[in-house]
Protein backbone atom coordinates (compact mmCIF):
# COMPACT_ATOMS: atom_id res chain seq x y z
CA UNK A 1 0.00 0.00 0.00
CA UNK A 2 2.50 2.54 1.12
CA UNK A 3 4.95 1.66 -1.62
CA UNK A 4 3.68 4.36 -3.95
CA UNK A 5 3.79 7.03 -1.24
CA UNK A 6 7.56 6.90 -0.95
CA UNK A 7 8.88 8.49 -4.09
CA UNK A 8 12.23 6.93 -5.04
CA UNK A 9 13.90 10.29 -5.67
CA UNK A 10 12.92 13.79 -6.51
CA UNK A 11 13.11 15.04 -10.09
CA UNK A 12 15.62 17.79 -10.60
CA UNK A 13 16.16 20.05 -13.56
CA UNK A 14 19.03 18.83 -15.75
CA UNK A 15 21.86 21.40 -15.48
CA UNK A 16 23.55 23.06 -18.47
CA UNK A 17 26.93 21.53 -17.67
CA UNK A 18 26.51 17.82 -16.98
CA UNK A 19 29.62 17.06 -14.96
CA UNK A 20 29.13 18.29 -11.38
CA UNK A 21 32.87 18.51 -10.88
CA UNK A 22 33.36 20.81 -13.86
CA UNK A 23 30.34 22.90 -12.84
CA UNK A 24 31.72 23.59 -9.38
CA UNK A 25 35.25 24.17 -10.64
CA UNK A 26 33.96 26.78 -13.10
CA UNK A 27 31.81 28.51 -10.48
CA UNK A 28 34.61 28.64 -7.88
CA UNK A 29 37.17 29.71 -10.47
CA UNK A 30 34.94 32.50 -11.66
CA UNK A 31 34.26 33.69 -8.11
CA UNK A 32 38.01 33.72 -7.38
CA UNK A 33 38.63 35.64 -10.60
CA UNK A 34 36.02 38.26 -9.69
CA UNK A 35 37.46 38.85 -6.22
CA UNK A 36 40.88 39.21 -7.78
CA UNK A 37 39.50 41.74 -10.24
CA UNK A 38 37.88 43.80 -7.50
CA UNK A 39 41.08 43.80 -5.50
CA UNK A 40 43.36 44.81 -8.35
CA UNK A 41 41.13 47.42 -10.00
CA UNK A 42 41.63 50.83 -8.46
CA UNK A 43 38.49 52.93 -8.59
CA UNK A 44 38.63 56.54 -7.50
CA UNK A 45 35.20 56.70 -5.86
CA UNK A 46 35.51 60.36 -4.87
CA UNK A 47 36.13 61.22 -8.54
CA UNK A 48 33.13 59.14 -9.56
CA UNK A 49 31.05 60.91 -6.92
CA UNK A 50 32.22 64.31 -8.15
CA UNK A 51 31.38 63.30 -11.71
CA UNK A 52 27.74 62.44 -10.99
CA UNK A 53 26.46 66.04 -11.25
CA UNK A 54 28.33 66.30 -14.54
CA UNK A 55 26.61 63.12 -15.68
CA UNK A 56 23.28 64.62 -14.67
CA UNK A 57 24.18 67.75 -16.68
CA UNK A 58 24.95 65.54 -19.65
CA UNK A 59 21.66 63.66 -19.40
CA UNK A 60 19.72 66.90 -19.03
CA UNK A 61 21.50 68.21 -22.15
CA UNK A 62 19.38 65.74 -24.12
CA UNK A 63 16.28 67.75 -23.11
CA UNK A 64 16.46 69.66 -25.41
CA UNK A 65 19.56 68.90 -27.52
CA UNK A 66 21.18 71.87 -29.21
CA UNK A 67 21.08 71.25 -32.94
CA UNK A 68 21.43 74.88 -34.00
CA UNK A 69 24.65 76.38 -32.65
CA UNK A 70 26.90 73.74 -34.30
CA UNK A 71 24.57 72.88 -37.17
CA UNK A 72 27.12 73.60 -39.95
CA UNK A 73 29.79 71.44 -38.33
CA UNK A 74 27.30 68.64 -37.73
CA UNK A 75 26.05 68.52 -41.31
CA UNK A 76 29.57 68.69 -42.67
CA UNK A 77 30.73 65.87 -40.39
CA UNK A 78 27.76 63.68 -41.20
CA UNK A 79 28.17 64.28 -44.94
CA UNK A 80 31.86 63.36 -44.70
CA UNK A 81 30.99 60.18 -42.79
CA UNK A 82 28.46 59.22 -45.43
CA UNK A 83 30.88 59.72 -48.37
CA UNK A 84 33.48 57.69 -46.54
CA UNK A 85 30.95 54.94 -45.91
CA UNK A 86 29.82 54.75 -49.55
CA UNK A 87 33.29 54.80 -51.09
CA UNK A 88 34.87 52.43 -48.58
CA UNK A 89 32.03 49.91 -48.77
CA UNK A 90 32.27 49.80 -52.58
CA UNK A 91 36.07 49.62 -52.69
CA UNK A 92 36.22 47.18 -49.77
CA UNK A 93 33.76 44.79 -51.36
CA UNK A 94 35.45 45.06 -54.76
CA UNK A 95 38.79 44.16 -53.16
CA UNK A 96 37.35 41.40 -51.02
CA UNK A 97 35.95 39.48 -53.99
CA UNK A 98 39.38 38.27 -55.19
CA UNK A 99 40.56 37.77 -51.59
CA UNK A 100 37.40 35.85 -50.75
CA UNK A 101 37.73 33.61 -53.81
CA UNK A 102 41.36 33.00 -52.89
CA UNK A 103 40.42 32.12 -49.33
CA UNK A 104 37.87 29.47 -50.34
CA UNK A 105 39.49 26.09 -49.83
CA UNK A 106 37.51 24.27 -52.51
CA UNK A 107 38.43 26.49 -55.46
CA UNK A 108 41.81 28.08 -54.63
CA UNK A 109 45.25 26.45 -54.86
CA UNK A 110 47.04 25.98 -51.51
CA UNK A 111 49.60 28.86 -51.66
CA UNK A 112 46.92 31.39 -52.67
CA UNK A 113 44.65 30.01 -49.95
CA UNK A 114 47.20 30.50 -47.16
CA UNK A 115 48.18 33.97 -48.38
CA UNK A 116 44.58 35.15 -48.48
CA UNK A 117 43.83 33.63 -45.07
CA UNK A 118 46.82 35.54 -43.61
CA UNK A 119 45.49 38.82 -45.04
CA UNK A 120 42.13 38.03 -43.44
CA UNK A 121 43.64 37.27 -40.03
CA UNK A 122 45.58 40.54 -39.90
CA UNK A 123 42.65 42.62 -41.07
CA UNK A 124 40.32 40.99 -38.55
CA UNK A 125 42.43 41.07 -35.40
CA UNK A 126 42.87 44.83 -35.26
CA UNK A 127 40.04 47.06 -34.26
CA UNK A 128 39.23 49.73 -36.87
CA UNK A 129 40.53 52.47 -34.60
CA UNK A 130 44.01 50.93 -34.34
CA UNK A 131 44.14 50.61 -38.11
CA UNK A 132 42.99 54.22 -38.39
CA UNK A 133 45.84 55.47 -36.20
CA UNK A 134 48.35 53.98 -38.61
CA UNK A 135 46.58 55.05 -41.77
CA UNK A 136 46.33 58.59 -40.41
CA UNK A 137 50.10 58.50 -39.87
CA UNK A 138 50.61 57.36 -43.47
CA UNK A 139 48.02 59.39 -45.38
CA UNK A 140 47.60 62.46 -43.18
CA UNK A 141 44.50 63.66 -41.34
CA UNK A 142 41.16 63.61 -43.09
CA UNK A 143 38.62 61.38 -44.77
CA UNK A 144 41.14 59.63 -47.06
CA UNK A 145 42.71 57.84 -44.07
CA UNK A 146 39.24 56.93 -42.85
CA UNK A 147 38.32 55.58 -46.25
CA UNK A 148 41.42 53.35 -46.40
CA UNK A 149 40.76 52.10 -42.85
CA UNK A 150 37.16 51.16 -43.51
CA UNK A 151 38.03 49.52 -46.84
CA UNK A 152 40.69 47.39 -45.17
CA UNK A 153 38.35 46.40 -42.34
CA UNK A 154 35.65 45.56 -44.89
CA UNK A 155 38.02 43.14 -46.63
CA UNK A 156 38.48 41.16 -43.39
CA UNK A 157 34.76 40.93 -42.73
CA UNK A 158 33.38 40.45 -46.21
CA UNK A 159 35.89 38.11 -47.78
CA UNK A 160 35.78 35.77 -44.78
CA UNK A 161 32.02 35.39 -45.16
CA UNK A 162 32.31 35.15 -48.95
CA UNK A 163 34.92 32.40 -48.63
CA UNK A 164 32.72 30.47 -46.19
CA UNK A 165 29.76 30.83 -48.52
CA UNK A 166 31.74 29.55 -51.51
CA UNK A 167 32.97 26.62 -49.43
CA UNK A 168 29.37 25.74 -48.55
CA UNK A 169 28.04 25.96 -52.12
CA UNK A 170 26.50 23.09 -54.06
CA UNK A 171 29.44 21.62 -56.03
CA UNK A 172 27.14 19.77 -58.48
CA UNK A 173 25.84 22.98 -60.05
CA UNK A 174 29.34 24.34 -60.62
CA UNK A 175 30.39 20.95 -62.01
CA UNK A 176 27.47 20.99 -64.48
CA UNK A 177 28.53 24.37 -65.85
CA UNK A 178 32.11 23.20 -66.19
CA UNK A 179 30.98 20.04 -68.00
CA UNK A 180 29.39 22.20 -70.69
CA UNK A 181 32.88 23.44 -71.61
CA UNK A 182 32.81 26.80 -69.87
CA UNK A 183 35.97 28.84 -69.38
CA UNK A 184 37.01 29.69 -65.80
CA UNK A 185 35.32 33.08 -65.95
CA UNK A 186 32.12 31.62 -67.39
CA UNK A 187 32.25 28.85 -64.82
CA UNK A 188 32.51 31.37 -62.01
CA UNK A 189 29.88 33.68 -63.47
CA UNK A 190 27.25 31.00 -64.13
CA UNK A 191 28.17 28.21 -61.70
CA UNK A 192 29.38 29.90 -58.53
CA UNK A 193 28.22 33.50 -58.47
CA UNK A 194 24.45 32.88 -58.66
CA UNK A 195 24.71 30.57 -55.65
CA UNK A 196 26.40 33.10 -53.35
CA UNK A 197 24.89 36.31 -54.70
CA UNK A 198 21.65 36.68 -52.64
CA UNK A 199 23.38 36.28 -49.29
CA UNK A 200 26.29 38.50 -50.36
CA UNK A 201 24.00 41.40 -51.28
CA UNK A 202 22.50 41.23 -47.80
CA UNK A 203 25.93 41.12 -46.18
CA UNK A 204 27.10 44.08 -48.28
CA UNK A 205 24.22 46.17 -46.97
CA UNK A 206 24.95 45.00 -43.44
CA UNK A 207 28.57 46.05 -43.86
CA UNK A 208 27.37 49.46 -45.04
CA UNK A 209 25.65 49.85 -41.64
CA UNK A 210 28.77 48.78 -39.79
CA UNK A 211 30.97 51.13 -41.81
CA UNK A 212 28.75 54.08 -41.00
CA UNK A 213 28.82 53.25 -37.30
CA UNK A 214 32.61 52.91 -37.38
CA UNK A 215 33.05 56.08 -39.42
CA UNK A 216 31.53 57.92 -36.47
CA UNK A 217 34.40 56.65 -34.34
CA UNK A 218 37.57 56.83 -36.39
CA UNK A 219 37.23 60.61 -36.51
CA UNK A 220 38.34 60.57 -32.86
CA UNK A 221 41.85 59.58 -33.95
CA UNK A 222 41.87 61.91 -36.97
CA UNK A 223 40.20 59.83 -39.67
CA UNK A 224 37.63 62.45 -40.66
CA UNK A 225 33.87 62.32 -40.34
CA UNK A 226 31.44 63.05 -37.54
CA UNK A 227 33.71 61.53 -34.86
CA UNK A 228 36.02 64.55 -34.96
CA UNK A 229 33.07 66.88 -34.38
CA UNK A 230 31.82 64.72 -31.51
CA UNK A 231 35.25 64.58 -29.89
CA UNK A 232 35.59 68.36 -30.05
CA UNK A 233 32.14 68.83 -28.55
CA UNK A 234 33.09 66.61 -25.61
CA UNK A 235 36.44 68.28 -25.11
CA UNK A 236 34.73 71.66 -24.83
CA UNK A 237 32.02 70.29 -22.48
CA UNK A 238 29.37 71.35 -25.02
CA UNK A 239 27.11 68.53 -23.89
CA UNK A 240 23.98 69.75 -25.65
CA UNK A 241 25.79 69.81 -29.02
CA UNK A 242 27.24 66.36 -28.29
CA UNK A 243 23.73 65.12 -27.48
CA UNK A 244 22.52 66.49 -30.81
CA UNK A 245 25.32 64.69 -32.68
CA UNK A 246 24.56 61.41 -30.91
CA UNK A 247 20.87 61.71 -31.75
CA UNK A 248 21.72 62.35 -35.42
CA UNK A 249 23.99 59.27 -35.44
CA UNK A 250 21.29 57.08 -33.88
CA UNK A 251 18.73 58.37 -36.37
CA UNK A 252 20.95 57.62 -39.38
CA UNK A 253 21.89 54.17 -38.07
CA UNK A 254 18.21 53.33 -37.58
CA UNK A 255 17.40 54.64 -41.05
CA UNK A 256 20.21 52.55 -42.58
CA UNK A 257 19.08 49.45 -40.71
CA UNK A 258 15.46 49.92 -41.73
CA UNK A 259 16.37 50.65 -45.37
CA UNK A 260 18.81 47.77 -45.66
CA UNK A 261 16.26 45.40 -44.13
CA UNK A 262 13.83 46.34 -46.90
CA UNK A 263 16.48 46.05 -49.64
CA UNK A 264 17.59 42.67 -48.31
CA UNK A 265 14.08 41.27 -48.38
CA UNK A 266 13.71 42.59 -51.94
CA UNK A 267 17.00 41.01 -53.05
CA UNK A 268 16.26 37.54 -51.70
Amino acid sequence: MSVAAVAPRRWKRPPLIKSAWLRWALAIGFALYLTLVFQTTPVNWTRVWEGLPRGAAFVSAFFPPDFLSRWDEITEGIAESLWMTVVSTVVGIALSIPVGIGAAKNIAPAPVYYFCRAVLAVSRSFQEVILAIFFVKLFGFGPFAGFVTLSFATIGFYSKLLAEDIEDMDAAQAEAVRASGASWLQWFNYGVQPQVMPRMIGLGLYRFDINFRESAVIGIVGGGGIGATLNTAFDRYEFSSAAAIIIVIIAIVMLCEYGSGHLRRWAQ
Binding site: V86, S125, Y237
Partner: protein, 270 residues
Protein backbone atom coordinates in the same frame (compact mmCIF):
# COMPACT_ATOMS: atom_id res chain seq x y z
CA UNK B 1 13.43 21.23 -95.51
CA UNK B 2 15.43 22.80 -92.81
CA UNK B 3 12.88 25.26 -91.54
CA UNK B 4 14.89 27.10 -89.00
CA UNK B 5 12.94 30.14 -87.86
CA UNK B 6 14.49 33.40 -89.01
CA UNK B 7 14.96 34.77 -85.54
CA UNK B 8 15.94 31.92 -83.30
CA UNK B 9 15.54 32.97 -79.69
CA UNK B 10 18.81 32.65 -77.89
CA UNK B 11 18.73 31.89 -74.18
CA UNK B 12 19.16 34.90 -72.00
CA UNK B 13 19.40 35.18 -68.26
CA UNK B 14 16.87 38.00 -67.84
CA UNK B 15 14.06 39.83 -69.60
CA UNK B 16 14.92 43.06 -71.41
CA UNK B 17 13.10 45.27 -68.92
CA UNK B 18 14.79 43.74 -65.89
CA UNK B 19 18.17 43.97 -67.61
CA UNK B 20 17.60 47.67 -68.33
CA UNK B 21 16.62 48.33 -64.73
CA UNK B 22 19.75 46.58 -63.52
CA UNK B 23 21.88 48.68 -65.86
CA UNK B 24 20.21 51.85 -64.59
CA UNK B 25 20.89 50.83 -60.99
CA UNK B 26 24.53 50.23 -61.89
CA UNK B 27 24.77 53.63 -63.59
CA UNK B 28 23.32 55.31 -60.51
CA UNK B 29 25.66 53.42 -58.19
CA UNK B 30 28.74 54.29 -60.23
CA UNK B 31 27.75 57.96 -60.39
CA UNK B 32 27.22 58.01 -56.62
CA UNK B 33 30.57 56.37 -56.02
CA UNK B 34 32.46 58.78 -58.27
CA UNK B 35 30.68 61.76 -56.73
CA UNK B 36 31.55 60.67 -53.19
CA UNK B 37 35.13 59.93 -54.13
CA UNK B 38 35.55 63.40 -55.62
CA UNK B 39 34.27 64.98 -52.42
CA UNK B 40 36.80 62.99 -50.43
CA UNK B 41 39.61 63.81 -52.81
CA UNK B 42 38.87 67.55 -52.46
CA UNK B 43 39.68 67.23 -48.76
CA UNK B 44 42.83 65.19 -49.30
CA UNK B 45 46.38 66.44 -49.60
CA UNK B 46 47.48 64.11 -52.39
CA UNK B 47 51.17 64.76 -51.87
CA UNK B 48 50.88 62.98 -48.52
CA UNK B 49 49.07 60.06 -50.12
CA UNK B 50 51.71 59.56 -52.83
CA UNK B 51 54.34 59.78 -50.12
CA UNK B 52 52.65 57.03 -48.08
CA UNK B 53 54.52 53.94 -49.37
CA UNK B 54 57.83 55.54 -48.46
CA UNK B 55 56.45 56.49 -45.06
CA UNK B 56 55.18 52.96 -44.53
CA UNK B 57 58.59 51.51 -45.33
CA UNK B 58 60.22 53.98 -42.99
CA UNK B 59 57.80 53.14 -40.19
CA UNK B 60 58.25 49.40 -40.71
CA UNK B 61 62.03 49.79 -40.42
CA UNK B 62 61.65 51.65 -37.14
CA UNK B 63 59.29 49.03 -35.74
CA UNK B 64 61.68 46.06 -36.01
CA UNK B 65 62.94 44.45 -33.92
CA UNK B 66 60.19 44.67 -31.27
CA UNK B 67 61.39 45.76 -27.83
CA UNK B 68 60.93 42.32 -26.23
CA UNK B 69 61.93 43.40 -22.72
CA UNK B 70 59.03 45.83 -22.68
CA UNK B 71 56.73 42.80 -22.19
CA UNK B 72 57.35 43.08 -18.43
CA UNK B 73 55.49 46.39 -18.38
CA UNK B 74 52.57 44.97 -20.38
CA UNK B 75 51.27 42.36 -17.91
CA UNK B 76 49.18 44.83 -15.98
CA UNK B 77 47.58 46.57 -19.02
CA UNK B 78 46.65 43.21 -20.56
CA UNK B 79 45.13 42.07 -17.25
CA UNK B 80 43.11 45.31 -17.19
CA UNK B 81 42.01 44.83 -20.80
CA UNK B 82 40.77 41.31 -20.14
CA UNK B 83 39.00 42.49 -16.98
CA UNK B 84 37.27 45.29 -18.85
CA UNK B 85 35.99 42.82 -21.42
CA UNK B 86 34.96 40.13 -18.91
CA UNK B 87 33.33 42.26 -16.22
CA UNK B 88 31.74 44.47 -18.87
CA UNK B 89 30.23 41.42 -20.57
CA UNK B 90 29.02 40.08 -17.22
CA UNK B 91 27.23 43.33 -16.35
CA UNK B 92 25.78 43.62 -19.84
CA UNK B 93 24.29 40.11 -19.90
CA UNK B 94 22.76 40.67 -16.45
CA UNK B 95 21.13 43.88 -17.75
CA UNK B 96 20.21 42.29 -21.07
CA UNK B 97 18.06 39.54 -19.52
CA UNK B 98 15.19 41.79 -18.33
CA UNK B 99 15.43 43.92 -21.48
CA UNK B 100 15.18 40.84 -23.71
CA UNK B 101 12.32 39.46 -21.60
CA UNK B 102 10.41 42.71 -22.14
CA UNK B 103 11.29 42.89 -25.84
CA UNK B 104 10.28 39.35 -26.87
CA UNK B 105 6.77 39.32 -28.26
CA UNK B 106 5.74 36.17 -26.39
CA UNK B 107 6.94 37.14 -22.91
CA UNK B 108 6.60 40.93 -22.77
CA UNK B 109 4.22 42.26 -20.10
CA UNK B 110 2.70 44.72 -22.54
CA UNK B 111 3.12 44.96 -26.31
CA UNK B 112 1.98 48.58 -26.48
CA UNK B 113 4.12 50.18 -23.77
CA UNK B 114 6.97 48.03 -22.46
CA UNK B 115 8.05 46.45 -25.74
CA UNK B 116 8.78 49.74 -27.61
CA UNK B 117 10.78 50.99 -24.62
CA UNK B 118 12.86 47.81 -24.57
CA UNK B 119 13.40 48.00 -28.33
CA UNK B 120 14.47 51.63 -28.00
CA UNK B 121 17.02 50.68 -25.33
CA UNK B 122 18.37 47.98 -27.65
CA UNK B 123 18.66 50.29 -30.68
CA UNK B 124 20.32 53.19 -28.87
CA UNK B 125 22.79 50.92 -27.11
CA UNK B 126 23.71 49.27 -30.40
CA UNK B 127 24.10 52.46 -32.45
CA UNK B 128 26.75 54.01 -30.24
CA UNK B 129 30.22 52.56 -30.38
CA UNK B 130 32.02 51.57 -27.17
CA UNK B 131 34.64 54.24 -27.85
CA UNK B 132 31.98 56.97 -27.85
CA UNK B 133 30.49 55.59 -24.63
CA UNK B 134 34.01 55.62 -23.17
CA UNK B 135 34.53 59.20 -24.33
CA UNK B 136 31.39 60.28 -22.47
CA UNK B 137 32.15 58.24 -19.36
CA UNK B 138 35.70 59.50 -19.09
CA UNK B 139 34.40 63.08 -19.00
CA UNK B 140 31.70 62.11 -16.51
CA UNK B 141 33.29 59.66 -14.04
CA UNK B 142 36.95 60.24 -14.77
CA UNK B 143 39.59 58.15 -16.55
CA UNK B 144 40.30 54.56 -15.53
CA UNK B 145 39.22 50.96 -15.81
CA UNK B 146 35.74 51.62 -14.38
CA UNK B 147 34.85 53.89 -17.32
CA UNK B 148 35.99 51.15 -19.69
CA UNK B 149 33.93 48.47 -17.96
CA UNK B 150 30.77 50.57 -18.05
CA UNK B 151 31.38 51.58 -21.68
CA UNK B 152 31.70 47.94 -22.75
CA UNK B 153 28.64 47.00 -20.69
CA UNK B 154 26.48 49.76 -22.18
CA UNK B 155 27.52 48.90 -25.72
CA UNK B 156 26.89 45.18 -25.27
CA UNK B 157 23.43 45.36 -23.68
CA UNK B 158 21.79 46.02 -27.03
CA UNK B 159 23.66 43.26 -28.84
CA UNK B 160 23.00 40.60 -26.17
CA UNK B 161 19.39 41.64 -25.63
CA UNK B 162 18.67 41.57 -29.37
CA UNK B 163 20.04 38.06 -29.90
CA UNK B 164 18.45 36.84 -26.66
CA UNK B 165 14.97 38.16 -27.45
CA UNK B 166 15.14 36.59 -30.90
CA UNK B 167 16.01 33.30 -29.19
CA UNK B 168 13.07 33.70 -26.79
CA UNK B 169 10.69 34.35 -29.69
CA UNK B 170 11.82 31.13 -31.38
CA UNK B 171 11.12 28.79 -28.45
CA UNK B 172 8.77 25.83 -28.70
CA UNK B 173 5.43 27.01 -27.27
CA UNK B 174 4.34 23.41 -26.70
CA UNK B 175 6.73 23.01 -23.80
CA UNK B 176 5.54 26.26 -22.22
CA UNK B 177 1.95 25.11 -22.65
CA UNK B 178 2.77 21.76 -21.05
CA UNK B 179 4.28 23.41 -17.97
CA UNK B 180 1.37 25.83 -17.72
CA UNK B 181 -1.18 23.00 -17.92
CA UNK B 182 0.28 21.45 -14.75
CA UNK B 183 -0.93 24.55 -12.90
CA UNK B 184 2.40 26.36 -12.67
CA UNK B 185 2.50 30.03 -11.75
CA UNK B 186 3.91 32.68 -14.11
CA UNK B 187 7.36 32.56 -12.52
CA UNK B 188 7.37 28.75 -12.62
CA UNK B 189 6.39 28.77 -16.30
CA UNK B 190 9.36 31.05 -17.01
CA UNK B 191 11.75 28.98 -14.91
CA UNK B 192 10.71 25.54 -16.20
CA UNK B 193 9.24 26.29 -19.63
CA UNK B 194 11.30 29.12 -21.11
CA UNK B 195 14.68 29.30 -19.35
CA UNK B 196 15.84 25.73 -20.16
CA UNK B 197 15.08 26.35 -23.84
CA UNK B 198 17.10 29.55 -24.18
CA UNK B 199 19.91 28.75 -21.75
CA UNK B 200 22.31 27.28 -24.36
CA UNK B 201 21.68 30.22 -26.72
CA UNK B 202 22.22 32.59 -23.83
CA UNK B 203 25.58 31.04 -22.91
CA UNK B 204 26.63 31.11 -26.57
CA UNK B 205 25.68 34.78 -26.96
CA UNK B 206 27.60 35.77 -23.82
CA UNK B 207 30.78 34.03 -24.92
CA UNK B 208 30.48 35.42 -28.45
CA UNK B 209 30.10 38.95 -27.14
CA UNK B 210 33.01 38.43 -24.73
CA UNK B 211 35.21 37.59 -27.70
CA UNK B 212 34.11 40.78 -29.52
CA UNK B 213 34.62 42.80 -26.34
CA UNK B 214 38.23 41.69 -25.97
CA UNK B 215 38.88 43.29 -29.36
CA UNK B 216 36.92 46.43 -28.45
CA UNK B 217 38.58 46.87 -25.07
CA UNK B 218 42.04 47.06 -26.67
CA UNK B 219 41.23 50.56 -27.93
CA UNK B 220 39.35 52.09 -25.00
CA UNK B 221 42.64 53.31 -23.52
CA UNK B 222 43.00 55.76 -26.42
CA UNK B 223 40.43 58.02 -24.77
CA UNK B 224 41.69 57.25 -21.25
CA UNK B 225 39.48 54.34 -20.24
CA UNK B 226 42.26 51.95 -19.18
CA UNK B 227 43.78 48.81 -20.65
CA UNK B 228 46.45 48.23 -23.27
CA UNK B 229 45.19 51.12 -25.41
CA UNK B 230 46.72 53.51 -22.88
CA UNK B 231 50.15 51.96 -23.43
CA UNK B 232 49.66 51.99 -27.20
CA UNK B 233 48.69 55.64 -27.16
CA UNK B 234 51.67 56.51 -24.94
CA UNK B 235 54.13 54.60 -27.09
CA UNK B 236 52.83 56.20 -30.29
CA UNK B 237 52.89 59.76 -28.97
CA UNK B 238 56.43 59.24 -27.63
CA UNK B 239 57.47 57.63 -30.94
CA UNK B 240 58.73 54.41 -29.27
CA UNK B 241 58.03 52.38 -32.40
CA UNK B 242 59.72 49.21 -31.15
CA UNK B 243 57.33 49.21 -28.19
CA UNK B 244 54.39 49.84 -30.53
CA UNK B 245 55.20 46.74 -32.56
CA UNK B 246 55.40 44.60 -29.41
CA UNK B 247 52.02 45.95 -28.24
CA UNK B 248 50.51 45.10 -31.63
CA UNK B 249 51.88 41.56 -31.41
CA UNK B 250 50.43 41.17 -27.90
CA UNK B 251 47.06 42.41 -29.14
CA UNK B 252 47.04 39.94 -32.05
CA UNK B 253 47.97 37.14 -29.64
CA UNK B 254 45.24 38.03 -27.14
CA UNK B 255 42.61 38.34 -29.84
CA UNK B 256 43.52 35.01 -31.44
CA UNK B 257 43.53 33.20 -28.07
CA UNK B 258 40.18 34.68 -27.08
CA UNK B 259 38.69 33.76 -30.45
CA UNK B 260 39.93 30.20 -30.01
CA UNK B 261 38.55 29.95 -26.44
CA UNK B 262 35.19 31.34 -27.50
CA UNK B 263 34.94 28.98 -30.50
CA UNK B 264 35.78 26.00 -28.23
CA UNK B 265 33.16 26.93 -25.61
CA UNK B 266 30.47 27.61 -28.20
CA UNK B 267 31.30 24.32 -29.89
CA UNK B 268 30.93 22.49 -26.53
CA UNK B 269 27.57 24.12 -25.78
CA UNK B 270 25.83 23.80 -29.12
Amino acid sequence: MATIPARARTWRRRETRVQLLIWLAWLFAVALFIGCFRLISEKTIWAFVWDAPQQAGDLALRMVPPDWLYIRALGRPIWDTINIATVGTLISVLCAIPVAYCAARNTTPSVAVVRPIALFIIVSSRSINALIWALMLVTIIGPGVLAGIIAIALRSIGFCAKLLYEAIEEIDEGQVEAVRSTGASGAQVTAYGIVPQVLPAFAGISVFRWDINIRESTILGLVGAGGIGLELNGAITQLYWTQVSLILLVIIGTVIVSEWVSAKIRHAII
